[in-house]
């Protein structure tokens, strides 16, 4: 049954665009996970490995335990239950056992009365290491000694690849990849390691309940998956570990994996006191996974009139020390490698490997970012080789409903690829600015490095797409509970994590519409009061929460009609089912492997100082397929913010490692876009309802990040005439040094 028939518009049930949490956030009252206090609280600190790869010969905690204010110093021996955990594969030790596999890996934890006492005690833990040769080159990882001899990701329906350090190997083969075209273009592309750099570092507080269980208040993206990983390690039943959502200072995928949850709970259960852990910025860089660095080879063949004949790609992503979500990231990178284009003949060869580099997992765009950068550069190369306008070439090959993905999946939902291309291309580009002008309006900005000599202007264009919701047969669902009181008021429970995207307002908007009253409150998210919502990721939370809240509200009204009085119902919503890909061919095994798709096109104007290699992005215009926009301001906010993160990857953001050791773990050395780096963004919302989604919604957070890196670098290529096959683009690359 289609649920898209009832539409929900801004103003319909939401009186203004003002977020429910806006007032407490602007006054400083909103409690983030780092703001929490509890009576009798201790402070936790983590002892971390200075090596990317080493054997642990011994850990001496005697001196640390004797220091003032110290209540506990714990190692792997103190982990009460299962010694390892992981989002999908339990391959990561709670505390390192006999070996460390990445720089910053947790080895021991300390609780003390004062933060400074905890820091000093952590420094006094003596760990004896025997450094080992780190595996740092992903190209060679599959030929080196295994970092995980027990191959934790094998036997899960993936292609069998017995080489060491393979996290997942996959192939997507369709048609005849050797089919010849009139023209072929080829390239090798590289994507650096990006950090989510959410502003609120990992933090939270664990409070023992006095009966053996523990309450953990934490900033996370998925409460129930935190609980389900933590409970076995703490040797507790899931009900004894209650995860409560504390204020989240941004996430972007970086809070999918656990950070301090188990550590704080171990310390709290050991000491019988609440324990708070807050990472500082430097620690945050090793406290979460990052975006996978990637190397991509691509060859595109086309007819003389521009029709794609065959695409062949090899995609290598570096998963770092532990699996996290690498198996899904490589599947996404391969699934969307070709871009939103129809091609009959495809061969994509993907490989995710273990190394001793920082672990990688989910970040906004999730594999599609890396693939889009390569695929769109190829489309521009092809346009140049064929002397066809690059927008026309994209229109000619655009994948639309009824067309087929390289996995054999037929596009059944909405995918207005041509529409977003046409509308982005039609956005008026600002006129070139006259010289002389203020330094701040030139590449180099307030550094006052040029008066305009050597400055060239370029215009770039790109298209990107990605899936919405979880894929490949994952049982993806969301729960909501609705409590109707006799006085007509309602309380909604849903564990959907509001990470800043505003899903709380979506929930209230849906509940008010469905229940026909404004007297609705949203309870804070907790595993103690409602079932799983799934993760605030994969552009799924608006769709899934809207579906769950709609279902629960309607069930509650039915129940009230039947029984009268107060009612309390909980309902689960599932999106259309997906199925795994064939491990040998990458083709669908039934129905679809991905639930739905969203596409965005972007046009960018940039200026480049070709002598100094400095850049200024002048203007960005984008048209994005957003389904029915429930809240226009929030959608624009996702587009503008997602674009900024893509700009960061294009121009400045990269975690730099030497022998696996991070060299720039600070905001002084890892740069993210400032107000001066971000140009105005014009957003044209292409509203075509998604037939399978409640109210016809689509997730909107990721497409702008997928497309913007590619579009910005296209503008730099146009300005410089250089290939610029690696991001972030460095001044040396632009100046040709």
């Amino acid at each position: 049954m289609s649920t898209a028939t009832r539409t929900l518009r801004p103003g319909h049930a939401l009186p203004s665009t003002r977020r429910a949490d806006a007032a407490p956030k602007v006054t400083g009252e909103f409690a983030y996970s780092s703001d929490l206090h509890a009576a009798g609280m201790l402070w936790g600190q983590t002892v971390r490995s200075p090596h990317a790869h080493a054997r642990i010969l011994g850990i001496d905690v005697v001196q640390a335990r004797a220091m003032p204010g110290v209540h506990a110093v714990l190692t792997h021996e103190d982990v009460p239950g299962q010694k390892t955990y992981g989002l999908e594969f339990a391959d990561q030790p709670v505390l390192a056992i006999d070996r460390v596999r990445y720089f910053g890996e947790a080895v021991a934890i300390v609780a003390a009365e004062e933060p400074e006492q905890a820091r000093r005690a952590a420094a006094a833990v003596r760990v004896e290491y025997e450094p080992l040769e780190p595996v740092t080159d992903p190209e060679q990882a599959a030929e080196m000694a295994p970092l995980h001899p027990d191959r934790p990701t094998m036997g899960h329906g993936f292609r069998d690849d017995a080489r060491p350090n393979v996290v997942r190997s996959m192939v997507i083969r369709r048609g005849d990849p050797d089919a010849e075209g009139d023209v072929a273009v080829e390239g090798v592309y590289e994507i650096g390691q990006q950090d989510q750099a959410f502003l609120g570092p990992e933090s939270g507080i664990a409070i023992p309940d006095g009966e053996g269980g523990v309450d953990i208040h934490v900033a996370t993206q998925w409460l129930h998956v935190d609980r389900d990983q933590a409970a076995p390690c703490l040797a507790l039943e899931p009900e004894q570990v209650r995860i409560h959502l504390a204020g989240v200072g941004g996430a972007f995928g970086g809070r999918e994996d656990l950070s301090m949850q188990i550590h704080a709970a171990m310390l709290a259960l050991r000491t019988g006191r609440p324990v708070k852990i807050v990472y500082n910025r430097e620690e945050s860089f090793v406290g979460h996974i990052h975006r996978h660095p990637a190397r991509i080879w691509a060859q595109h063949r086309a007819t003389r009139d521009g029709k794609l004949v065959a695409v062949r790609m090899r995609i290598l992503i570096d998963g770092g020390a532990y699996a996290s979500s690498s198996t899904a990231v490589i599947a996404n990178a391969c699934s969307f490698a070709v871009g939103p284009y129809a091609v009959d003949n495809v061969l994509v060869d993907g490989l995710a490997v273990y190394t001793n580099n920082p672990p990688c997992g989910a970040m906004r765009g999730f594999g599609a970012v890396q693939a889009c950068f390569a695929a769109e550069a190829q489309m521009d190369k092809l346009a140049t080789a064929l002397e066809i306008d690059s927008v026309e070439l994209r229109l000619l090959n655009a994948l639309e409903p009824g067309g087929m993905l390289p996995t054999g999946q037929v596009v059944t939902g909405s995918l207005p690829t041509r529409d977003v291309i046409r509308r982005a291309a039609a956005l008026p580009v600002p006129e070139p600015e006259e010289l002389p002008r203020e330094a701040i309006r030139l590449p180099g900005g307030a550094g006052n490095t040029t008066r305009g000599e050597g400055v060239r202007r370029g215009v770039g264009f790109a298209v990107g797409f990605k899936n919405i919701c979880y894929s490949e047969g994952f049982d993806d669902y969301c729960t909501a509970r609705v409590v109707l009181a006799e006085d007509g008021s309602a309380e909604v429970h849903c564990a959907a994590a509001d990470v800043g995207q505003g899903v709380s307002d979506v929930i209230l908007q849906v509940a008010r519409l469905e229940l026909g009253t404004d007297d609705v409150t949203l309870a804070s998210g907790s595993t103690a009061r409602v079932g799983s919502a799934g993760s605030a990721s994969s552009s799924r939370m608006t769709w899934m929460a809207a579906g769950a809240v709609q279902t629960a509200c309607r069930a509650a009204l039915d129940e009230r009609d039947r029984s009268g009085g107060a009612v309390d119902v909980e309902r689960i919503y599932r999106h259309p089912r997906t199925y795994p890909l064939d491990p040998e061919t990458g083709q669908i095994t039934d129905g679809r492997a991905h639930v739905a798709l969203a596409v965005a096109a972007m046009r960018v104007v940039a200026e480049v100082d070709v002598d100094l290699g400095l850049t200024r992005v002048v203007w960005i215009g984008t048209a994005q397929d957003v389904g029915n926009a429930l809240n226009r301001t929030a959608v624009e906010g996702q587009i503008e913010g997602g674009t900024a993160q893509g700009l960061g990857l294009a121009l400045m953001e990269e975690i730099q490692t030497r022998d696996g050791v991070i060299a720039n773990a600070s905001f002084t050395d890892y740069l993210i876009p400032t107000f001066l780096d971000m140009p105005p963004v014009v957003s044209d919302l292409v509203e075509e309802p998604e037939p399978d989604a409640p109210y016809g919604v689509k997730g909107v957070g990721e497409p702008p990040t997928v497309v913007s890196t590619a579009a910005i670098v296209a503008a730099l290529r146009d300005a410089t005439g250089r290939e610029l096959a690696r991001v972030p683009v460095r001044p040396d690359d632009i100046a040709g040094l």
Binding site: R19, P115, L199, G247, I440, F667, T674, F675
Partner: protein, 151 residues
């Protein structure tokens, strides 16, 4: 050591250690967690406060340096429960997403408008370039500052 700081017009005393930042004192000793700790290097502006009417990163100021001085934090911006025009504009334009940078931004933006009552886009961008936001891409923050001027 003991310090006495006038915070949001009220004299507050705290026992601090010699190396402690003003940010830590505000957050952990004076129960004013509105100022945020996101980098502790003066790069992100999340901890912005006014020290004797001068915009500073409170992570870079020692609590001891603030002894005997006046500090204004985000908690002091609203007047008797009614939002400061900058706070109200941030809420109205969608300039708030996760909100972790917001306290620093509203303190810095209010300071800008005190000095420059009607700033241009470029003046806003330059004045607030010391405050990092990871969610919004800054556009709606620009809108918010202009809206605050109108009000």
């Amino acid at each position: 050591m003991r310090v006495s700081i006038t915070v949001n017009g009220e004299v507050r005393e705290a026992e601090v250690w010699a190396g402690e930042s003003l940010l830590t004192t505000l957050r952990d000793r004076l129960d004013l967690p509105g100022s945020k700790n996101a980098c502790e290097q003066g790069e992100c502006g999340s901890c912005s406060v006014l020290l004797d009417d001068e915009l500073v990163c409170s992570c870079l100021v020692l609590a001891a340096q603030a002894d005997g001085h006046e500090v204004a934090t985000v908690e002091g911006l609203a007047d008797d429960g009614s939002l400061h025009p900058v706070q109200d504009a941030f809420a109205a334009t969608g300039a708030v997403q996760c909100g972790f940078c917001t306290p620093g931004f509203v303190v810095a933006a209010a300071d800008l408008l005190r000095r420059v009552p009607d700033p241009s886009d470029d003046e806003i961008r330059e004045a607030l370039s010391g405050n990092l936001c990871r969610c919004t891409g800054y556009q709606k923050i620009l809108d918010a500052v202009h809206l605050a001027v109108e009000r």
